[in-house]
Each structure stands twice: as structure tokens, then as C-alpha cells.
């Protein structure tokens, strides 16, 4: 009885979490008319639709008209015009799913945004690791004056919300003239208190003998970090990677603040805004297609890393 109740609660929770994704995916497949009227089920009818903007863009010019007259001299101009019109509408008609996904790439430089997202998240993660691993190693395995105080500061930093320090960070970057650059997107996140904390907890569980053996074998302290601690900490590192990459790939707040004009520096979430201001207000389909494209890399990465990720969490929780 209790087990059944538990599952019902879990199912409800799962539904609440998954519903927005289902809506996103469904909208990305449907035509504007279906989205507006709420018809077509999950996949939409996929009836060919006409892209009015495409039609408007390809008004026939005089040369095309002359060519059409020459090809069929027995028709009146009206008939020719209407036939050209039909041809155009036919050329501009496509299935909604194709419309949405091509629109996602043509309306905004989505590939560029994805590339920016990749550069920014990977740079952040790599630098975070370069900083966090030696720091965590020192906090977990070395004895030095003030170690406990340093660790207490790390814990304290975990409590500071990003938004609280956003303004001073922005001002600092602005004074350095770094706004509207990759540096502005990356630098504030390079020292991750969470990363230091997570890796420190994991390193606490690595036996001291292993570190001592490495010292006897002739390794210096940095060599121990990269050659011994890093390989043993892969599960924890993957767990951290998931947290870090998800957070910064999806971040809207910070890029919105420091990237003020240059569209070439937009990250994927900023790219989504391109569809919001549409005057006709009917670009939900492409917008949702963009959103789908943005979350796919994350979902793929998570599924690939899932087993290791859960292992990592379990390990760091055990010790």
C-alpha cells in the first residue's frame, strides 16, 4: 500500500518534470495553426503548410514574368500570374517539422550559438578542474597551517548566491573592459567552491598510502594530483562535469548581463530570445525547435555519463 503510494507520488513528480519537455518537443513538430488551436495530437498532422514569409520573399520579378509569357503565349497575364503564384506556394510549402527545424537554423545563427556554448562551457569546466583538483588535494591530504580555516571559507563560499555578487563582478569586468568577450563569460566561474568541496570529499576517501607510495616513487605533489588523484577521481569528476556543464550551458542570467550587443558571442539560451520578439508572434514552432536542439547535447551527454555519474554520487556520499 505504502509502496504504491510512493510510486504514485514519484509518477506525479516525474510527470511535472517531464511535461514541459513533452510540450517543447510536441510544439517543435507542429504547425503554427495546430499550436494555436491545440489540435493535431503530439506529433501534429504533418500536413504540408505554406511559409508565408517565403512566399512574400519570392515575388516574381519582370524577367520571370517574361519568361513565363514566352513559355505559354496562349494564356492571359492573370492566368500566368496565378499559376506562378501556385508554383511559388508549392515551392514554399513544407511539412511543419521541416519548417520549424530549418527556421531554427536560418532565423538565427544557431550553429554559432551552439559553438559559443561549447567553447564557454568547456573552458569553464577545464579551468575549474585545473583550479579545483590541486586545491581539493591540498585541503584533503596536506597538513598546513590554516587548512581548516581555508576549508571553512570554501564551505562559506557555497552559501553565496550568484546573483548577490553579479553586480560587483560586472563592474569589475566592465572596468577591465572585458564585457562582450568570452573572458567575461568564463572568468567569473573558473573557481568553483562546489567543485573544490566535491573533489575534497572524494579525495578524503583515497587512502593515504597511495599518496605516500607516489611520493616514494618519486612524484612531486603536482604530479600526484594529475597522475594519481585525477585518474582515481574520474567518477567524481564526471559528476562535477554534469553539474558544471549543465549549469553554464543553460545559464541565461550571466550571459544576458555581460553580452550586451555582439550577437556573435550569444550562447544558446540567449539565442532563444531571437524568437520571442517576433512581430507576428507565431514562431513558437521554430522557437521550440531551437530549445530542443539546445537541450539535446545535454541529454546525450547525461545518458552517456549516467552510470558513471550515479557511481560518482554514490562514492562521494559513502565516505
Amino acid at each position: 500500500m505504502f509502496a504504491a503510494l510512493k510510486h504514485i507520488v514519484l509518477l506525479l513528480g516525474g510527470f511535472v518534470v517531464l511535461a514541459p519537455f513533452a510540450v517543447m518537443l510536441s510544439y517543435s513538430l507542429k504547425s503554427p495553426a495546430e499550436i494555436e488551436r491545440g489540435t493535431g495530437g503530439f506529433f501534429g498532422a504533418q500536413a504540408p503548410m505554406v511559409d508565408e514569409m517565403c512566399v512574400a520573399r519570392s515575388q516574381p520579378d519582370r524577367a520571370a514574368l517574361d519568361a513565363a509569357r514566352a513559355a505559354s503565349p496562349d494564356l492571359t497575364d492573370d492566368a500566368i500570374l496565378s499559376r506562378l503564384d501556385t508554383d511559388r506556394r508549392e515551392a514554399c510549402s513544407m511539412r511543419p517539422v521541416v519548417f520549424n527545424y530549418t527556421k531554427a537554423f536560418t532565423e538565427a545563427p544557431l550553429m554559432r550559438y551552439l559553438l559559443n556554448g561549447l567553447i564557454v562551457t568547456l573552458s569553464i569546466f577545464v579551468i575549474q578542474v585545473v583550479v579545483a583538483l590541486p586545491a581539493a588535494y591540498a585541503l584533503a591530504k596536506l597538513r598546513f597551517w590554516g587548512r581548516d580555516a581555508a576549508f571553512a571559507l570554501v564551505l562559506f563560499c557555497l552559501l553565496i548566491p550568484v546573483n548577490a555578487v553579479a553586480l560587483p563582478l560586472y563592474l569589475g569586468l566592465a572596468k577591465l573592459g572585458l564585457t562582450n568577450s568570452y573572458a567575461a563569460l568564463v572568468i567569473p566561474w573558473t573557481i568553483s567552491a562546489f567543485g573544490i568541496f566535491l573533489m575534497r570529499q572524494f579525495f578524503m576517501g583515497v587512502p593515504d598510502d597511495l599518496v605516500d607510495a607516489a611520493r616514494m616513487d618519486g612524484m612531486g605533489e603536482f604530479a600526484i594530483v594529475w597522475r594519481v588523484m585525477l585518474p582515481t577521481a574520474i567518477p567524481a569528476l564526471i559528476a562535477f562535469a554534469i553539474f558544471s556543464i549543465t549549469a553554464h550551458w543553460n545559464d541565461y542570467f550571466w550571459p544576458r548581463i555581460v553580452i550586451t550587443g555582439d550577437r556573435d558571442l550569444f550562447t544558446p539560451p540567449l539565442g532563444l530570445r531571437e524568437f520571442q520578439a517576433g512581430a507576428d508572434g507565431s514562431l513558437y514552432g521554430p522557437m521550440m525547435a531551437t530549445a530542443t536542439i539546445i537541450v539535446i547535447p545535454l541529454i546525450a551527454a547525461f545518458l552517456l555519463a549516467q552510470r558513471k555519474f550515479i557511481e560518482g554520487i554514490a562514492l562521494s556520499g559513502m565516505k
Binding site: 587512502p207 598510502d209 597511495l210 605516500d212 607510495a213 607516489a214 611520493r215 616514494m216 616513487d217 618519486g218 612524484m219 612531486g220 604530479a223 594519481v228 585518474p231 582515481t232 574520474i234
Partner: protein, 374 residues
């Protein structure tokens, strides 16, 4: 190969003193065991020799040269850990190669991927040395495995191979057998002793198991409370201990301790009889007798008691006897079985008795006086 000399080593953490002035000279090629109960400071001492910890006072000399300021990595010592401490992400061959790679290759040659193209002759010599170390310990077929895929005994061998591959000045072994099961432990004991003979290197071996110390060492240093109580050959440690704690620690079953007293004439008496032994002056004493020094006898026994427990060891019986007036049971070894509940008489040769004073120090001014009636 090197001599190891310890001069007045002290170590204190905050207020607790772990080591209280250790002096020890270890000759070249000697096998010395540091043995003692847990918490006696033996592992700390080994770590100080290794350079993994610094002493509060005193110094370590290798070949007569102080290594106080030298990093562990530069002391050219090898250490085998209780937990083996193999690198879990490397294969056996890579594990054994690590100490050589760190010494013979430069920074660039050690880089992953690209380093492989730059090693050249050095890399080939490393591979050859790894191979010969693996052959010496008969782990050739395991070279491609990872530590996680091996048994404890196999990991132990890999740890030994990693220690000996770079031919260090001395080997430090920190309870290397305590994670093995009893059968494998006896086997590996022999192997390590043979390895020592083959290499002729200096071995410093830490253990809490007196059997390991007795069977393997040239000399045993018995440690207790941060001090070396006695450092001597196994035979002398066993037969001629200078401290009651040493006598009690070494030997299984434990040595029998009987309270005794020297009267004003210096004659030594135990509850029930006076012994033909003479001590310098009047004092409370303790008499210690190895289980094999006691025998069952009906003729003129020195002590009488009742058999309370019998252990059949196959080749002998270990008999526990409760004697009225003694605080603990006496244990003796005999070839003859005895029945539980049986009243027996116990005899011993007074010359075999070890006499200790009230503080546990050995009294050597004891003379056997013939003809004094019991």
C-alpha cells in the same frame, strides 16, 4: 644497499609523544624487524626513515650521511605498504614502471601519448627492468592486468616488484603480510626472506606479529611505548629478554609469569616453594617461564594445579593449568595428553627461569645455588 642509522629520533604530535628517543644501527644487507603492539610507534618510525614524516628531534643517516633535508623521493628507499597502494588505474606493468619512469624519463617523455615517441632507449631499458622484476616475483603473466582484477597475494607481489625494480638503498616494509590469509602469509614470509637473501639488500620490516619477526629477521627491535626495549637476534630475544614486556610479547603461547619474592637472605620463593636461586637483595620479583620450560611431573613437583583446558596441536598438547595462589593460569607444552580436571604436579629447571624485578627489568644477578632444598 646502505646502512641505516637512527640517532635520538623523537616524534610528538601536539602533547603526545609517539617516539621517545630511538637509536638504532642497521648494517648493510641486514634484515631488521620493528615489532611491537599497535600504537607503539613502529610505523611512525618507518615513515620517518622513509622521509614521509619528519622527526621532532634526532636524525636519520643513510650510509652515514644525514638525510634530514632530503625528500622521500630522493632518499632512494622503497616502501611496501600494508594496503599495497598500487595505482588502481594502471596495469601491473605500468605500476612497476612508475618509479623508473619518474627517475629515468624527463618531463616531456612522461607526457601521455606524445611521450611514447620520445622515450627511446630509456623506455626500452624500463621495459626490460620491469620484465626482470616481474620474472623474479613470478608475475609475468599478470603484467596486463589491473590491481582490481587480482587477488591479495598477487597484489602483494606487484607491490614488491614495484619496490625492488629500481634497486633501492634499502627496503621498508610496513606490515606487508597482514592483509593476507594465514596460509599465504606463511608462504610469502618464506618468499620475502629468500628475496632478501637473493638481493642482499637492507630490509626494515614493521610488523605486530612476533612470528613474522622471529622467522624472518637477522635482528628484532622490540618497541613499546615509543622506545626500543631490546634489539637483538631472534634467538636472544626469545631466550634472553632484558625486559618482561619483551618476554611477554615474544613467544606463543605467552610466557608464564609467576609472582616471586626474595627474602632477606636473597632466596627466591614462589607461592608454594622456595627455589635454589639467589638474588642480590630482598625485593618483589617476577619469575617468567616459557611454556616448554614447564613439564608435568609426579615426582617432587614445584607447583600443583588442576588441568582446566587442553589444546591438541597435533604434534603436542598445550595445557592450561589453574594453580591456587597464582593470578593467571600456567600454560605448558607437552607430548603427553592430560584430562581436564586432572590434578597435576608441575616441575621446571630453576636455571631456565627468567627473573624480573618489580618494574619488569631483567635481574641478571641471580645465582643457582645447588643443594638448597625445595
Amino acid at each position: 644497499m646502505a646502512t641505516v642509522t637512527l640517532r635520538g629520533i623523537r616524534k610528538a604530535y601536539k602533547d603526545t609523544e609517539i617516539l621517545r628517543g630511538i637509536n638504532l644501527d642497521i648494517a648493510e644487507g641486514e634484515f631488521v624487524s620493528l615489532v611491537g603492539p599497535s600504537g607503539c610507534g613502529k610505523s611512525t618510525l618507518l615513515r620517518i626513515i622513509a622521509g614521509l614524516e619528519g622527526p621532532t628531534a634526532g636524525e636519520v643517516l643513510l650510509d652515514g650521511v644525514s638525510v634530514s633535508g632530503t625528500r622521500a623521493a630522493d632518499r632512494n628507499l622503497s616502501m611496501v605498504f600494508q594496503s599495497y597502494a598500487l595505482y588502481p588505474h594502471l596495469t601491473v606493468a605500468e605500476n612497476i614502471a612508475v618509479p623508473l619512469r619518474m627517475r629515468r624519463l624527463n618531463r616531456w617523455q612522461r607526457l601521455p601519448l606524445v611521450g611514447g615517441f620520445m622515450g627511446g632507449a630509456a623506455a626500452r631499458s624500463i621495459a626490460a627492468d620491469v620484465q626482470s622484476a616481474a620474472e623474479m616475483l613470478e608475475i609475468g603473466p599478470l603484467l596486463d592486468r589491473r590491481p582490481g582484477e587480482m587477488s591479495g597475494g598477487q597484489r602483494q607481489r606487484v607491490a614488491l616488484a614495484r619496490a625492488l625494480v629500481r634497486q633501492p638503498a634499502a627496503f621498508l616494509l610496513d606490515e606487508p603480510l597482514s592483509n593476507l590469509d594465514a596460509k599465504l602469509r606463511a608462504h610469502t614470509r618464506t618468499e620475502i626472506t629468500e628475496l632478501h637473501r637473493k638481493l642482499g639488500a637492507t630490509f626494515i620490516y614493521v610488523t605486530h606479529d612476533q612470528v613474522e619477526a622471529m622467522t624472518m629477521s637477522d635482528r628484532i627491535a622490540v618497541m613499546m611505548g615509543g622506545q626500543i626495549l631490546q634489539c637483538d637476534t631472534p634467538a636472544r630475544i626469545y631466550a634472553d629478554p632484558c625486559d618482561l614486556r619483551v618476554a611477554e610479547f615474544v613467544g606463543s603461547p605467552r610466557i608464564n609469569v609467576i609472582p616471586a619474592e626474595a627474602d632477606s637472605a636473597g632466596r627466591i620463593a614462589i607461592p608454594g616453594c622456595t627455589l635454589p636461586l639467589r638474588h642480590g637483595c630482598r625485593a618483589a620479583l617476577r619469575l617468567a617461564l616459557r611454556p616448554e620450560a614447564l613439564f608435568l611431573t609426579a615426582h617432587d613437583p614445584k607447583l600443583r594445579g588442576e588441568v582446566v583446558h587442553v589444546e591438541n596441536m597435533g604434534h603436542e598438547f598445550v595445557i592450561q593449568i589453574a594453580v591456587a595462589g597464582l593470578p593467571s593460569r600456567l600454560v605448558l607444552r607437552t607430548a603427553m595428553p592430560a584430562a581436564i580436571g586432572q590434578a597435576v604436579g608441575i616441575g621446571f629447571d630453576p636455571a631456565q627461569a627468567l627473573i624480573f624485578d618489580a618494574e619488569g627489568r631483567r635481574c641478571r644477578d641471580v645465582a643457582v645455588t645447588q643443594g638448597v632444598a625445595a
